[in-house]
């Protein structure tokens, strides 16, 4: 047995030695060395879902063809735990040049602490190429500095199952529904029980589905007066309490997801993001979709005009510790340029509203159901406000909203608690 002990002791000993001589933290400080003529591999970190994997492959191909000597090296990570992975990698000094932010929470948190590079100069120097996404750049500034380039932009929309409406003899949802009208329509479309149950509505369990009401009215979760949010929470609660939409409890117990739910053909309407048409297109190709669907503007409070919707962009950024900053900027800049956006448009909702991009987007669909107005011709309000406490706010609205929806608290009480906790926890 002594024989196998030796290598182990050897390993442990050399490990300690390695650690002892590894105090050269300065090597990371050599940032942004100028691009040499050699091959440079840009390490790019992203989360994988099937749609974006193909998109990135095509983007990399086009980019590499245009920039000889540059290659893109992907580090893919599981979608559900991407945030943690990204945080550990960036905090522990892992080697990554550029990356995608899965949410604006992450963007604010990591960029505001300096882990992403400011891109103002790059954006100014390449304003022509970035014209299509320029309108969203201002909203991405943190303390007047830009840290990310948008490549996707999603708002919210209403999707419906035409067959169910035809069968019920009810007119399709119009493009100017208020939330209250949506509730009534959902109730009207609900019928049956057991295996034959048809639900009028499916919304994800996310807090956005109720705080949208306040955002659409132009309110802020950080302001003194949170009353605009009460009505939204009330309507959302009424929706599941009335049985027109499965409750959070049921959704949790059945692991429910809007996509699989809609495909069962037992839900008349779904409210979710504008990435949904892309999913449905894929499902159609896989012949999992066996009914006609339509889409229109997301419902809104009566005070604002139709087409007012929350939007959120998805951004790429360059790591402050990158050794190939210029190349990394070039890569993410390419994705946000008109050429890159045309590729993005084949798979996802692009951030650019340029006509060529919109055409490309439309062309990716094999049916007419996709409604370009509901995607591009909209009045945007922010889904998340980029400011200190953005992650805490997310936790607070989720926890308190959930209690109200489960009937353990009232909407009024929930909003009151949100305000109280916000003032305590966000400093």
């Amino acid at each position: 047995m002594k024989n196998w002990m030796k290598p182990l002791i050897g390993i442990s000993a050399s490990a300690v030695l390695l650690a002892g001589c590894g105090k050269d933290t300065t090597d990371q400080a050599a940032k942004g060395t100028p691009a040499s003529e050699q091959e440079v591999a840009i390490k790019f970190m992203l989360w994988n879902d099937s749609a974006s994997e193909r998109m990135y492959d095509e983007l990399a191909q086009a980019f590499e063809a245009k920039n000889p000597g540059l290659t893109v090296d992907f580090t893919k990570s599981d979608a559900n735990t991407y945030s943690e992975r990204l945080t550990v990698t960036l905090t522990g000094g892992g080697e990554v040049d550029a990356f995608a932010f899965k949410s604006l929470d992450e963007y604010y948190k990591l960029a505001s602490s300096g882990r992403a590079l400011a891109l103002d100069d790059y954006a100014a120097a390449n304003s022509a190429g970035l014209a299509g996404v320029e309108s969203s750049l201002d909203n991405l500034k943190i303390n007047d500095k830009l840290y990310g380039l948008p490549f996707r932009s999603d708002g919210w929309a209403l999707y419906y199952n035409k067959n169910l409406f035809d069968k019920a003899g009810v007119a399709y949802p119009g493009d100017d529904l208020t939330w209250e009208q949506y509730l009534e329509l959902a109730k009207q479309m609900t019928s049956g029980s057991g295996q034959d149950k048809i639900y009028g509505s499916f919304m994800p369990d996310w807090a956005q589905t109720w705080y949208s009401y306040g955002q659409q009215l132009g309110a802020s979760l950080y302001s003194e007066d949170l009353t605009p949010y009460i009505e939204g929470l009330k309507l959302r609660k009424e929706l599941s309490d009335s049985g027109a939409q499965p409750s959070i409890a049921e959704n949790k117990a059945t692991n429910a997801h809007y996509r699989t739910a809609f495909l069962t053909g037992k839900y008349a309407m779904v409210v979710t993001g504008t990435w949904f048409p892309g999913m449905l297109e894929q499902d159609k190709k896989d012949s999992k979709l066996n009914f006609d669907w339509g889409m229109t503007y997301v419902p809104h409070p009566p005070e604002v005009k139709k087409g007012t919707t929350m939007t959120a962009v998805v951004v790429h950024a360059v790591s402050s510790d990158s050794k190939h900053q210029e190349e990394a900027k070039k890569w993410i800049g390419f994705i946000s340029s008109e050429e890159g956006q045309q590729i993005v448009a084949k798979y996802q909702t692009p951030a650019s509203a340029a006509d060529s991009v919109k055409d490309q987007y439309k062309a990716a669909f094999t049916n007419d159901a996709v409604n370009l107005d509901a995607i591009f011709n909209i009045t945007s309000v922010p889904e998340r406000e980029l400011r200190k406490g953005i992650t805490q706010m997310n936790t607070i609205v989720t926890e308190e909203g959930e209690l109200a929806l489960l009937g353990e608290s009232t909407p009024e009480k929930a909003i009151e608690n949100i305000k109280k906790r916000r003032d305590q926890e966000i400093q």
Binding site: M1, K2, W4, M5, L8, I11, A15, L18, A19, G22, N48, D49, S50, T75, K76, S77, D78, A79, N80, T81, E84, R85, V88, T89, T91, G92, G93, G94, E95, Q195, A253, T254, N255, A256, H257, R259, T260, T264
Partner: protein
């Protein structure tokens, strides 16, 4: 209970009882198994249908072909076996020193081990990443192996068990001219088989199911372990529970095998291996 109960209970009755409890313990596994053969729309039908109307074996085919199962099996097996061996060796050696040898600083060292055992993993994740990165081991199986081998829990467990073995055995061997390592390897370890089996099973099943460490350290597809593969199934087949369950069933087979292998060390009628503190 054999000795405790004597022959108070007839065998058939105890079998019935055992089967009943077994059922309670494996109900979720039965659900998993039955779900793995269902169609998606059948998965959450209530009341639960325990035996699917039609067995859809194609779920297994789909899962097997959508991720490289053999590769993930191999990677998981490699890491789990190395960690298990490493723990059995280093923890029993250290446990032996703590339990049966005297040396200056013993108390302090042991308290240090114990204190480390109390710190939750989530807290030391980032500092550990620093260390692994300094050693240049990010994206290698060594990261997973080295982080798991030197388990304070394993040392504590071995110390407890080994200190229960009678000291006279060692004394007798010493008089016969055995050196300390000989005593450890030839006399004490064979008596500690149940403890080694317990630690072995624990280490193996822990590493086999570990999701966090591979998630953080592995980036190359060729290095990924099964839990990462299952997670990607989860991502790919959003709420297609039946496929995820089929993958889970496939992933459980090796752990059950390992358990059945180790567990025979519990029946060999060892009498000296009692635990003492």
């Amino acid at each position: 209970m054999g000795q405790l109960l004597g022959h108070a209970v007839p065998k058939s009755l105890s079998h019935l009882f055992m089967i009943l409890i077994s059922l309670i313990m494996i109900v979720p596994f039965l659900w998993m198994l039955s779900t793995s053969f269902k169609l998606q729309e059948e998965v959450f039908q209530y009341p639960i249908q325990w035996i699917p109307q039609v067995f859809h074996f194609e779920n297994y085919v789909e899962v097997w072909t959508s991720i490289p199962f053999p590769l993930y099996y191999f990677n998981s097996l490699k890491v789990s076996v190395l960690v298990t061996l490493g723990q059995l060796i280093t923890c029993s050696l250290a446990g032996y020193a703590f339990a049966r040898l005297d040396f200056p600083g013993k108390n302090r060292l042991f308290i240090m081990y114990f204190a480390a055992f109390m710190i939750p993993y989530q807290v030391i994740m980032i500092p550990q990443y620093f260390v692994i990165k300094k050693l240049g081991l990010v994206d290698s199986h060594w990261a997973l192996i080295l982080l798991e081998i030197f388990s304070p829990y394993g040392v504590f467990l071995m110390r407890q068990f080994l200190s229960g073995i009678s000291k006279e055995l060692s004394e007798a061997a010493r008089i016969d001219g055995c050196n300390e390592f000989g005593i450890f390897a030839r006399i004490i370890l064979p008596l500690a088989k149940p403890a080694l089996a317990t630690l072995g099973i624990f280490a193996f099943s822990w590493v086999w199911n570990d999701f966090q460490a591979p998630l953080i350290y592995l980036t190359s597809d060729s290095l990924k372990t099964l839990p990462l593969g299952l997670a990607s199934l989860n991502g790919e087949f959003t709420s297609q529970t039946q496929l995820v369950m089929a993958g889970t069933v496939l992933s459980l087979i090796p752990v059950v095998t390992v358990f059945l292998f180790f567990q025979r060390y519990f029946i060999s009628g060892i009498t000296a291996g009692s635990v003492k503190g």
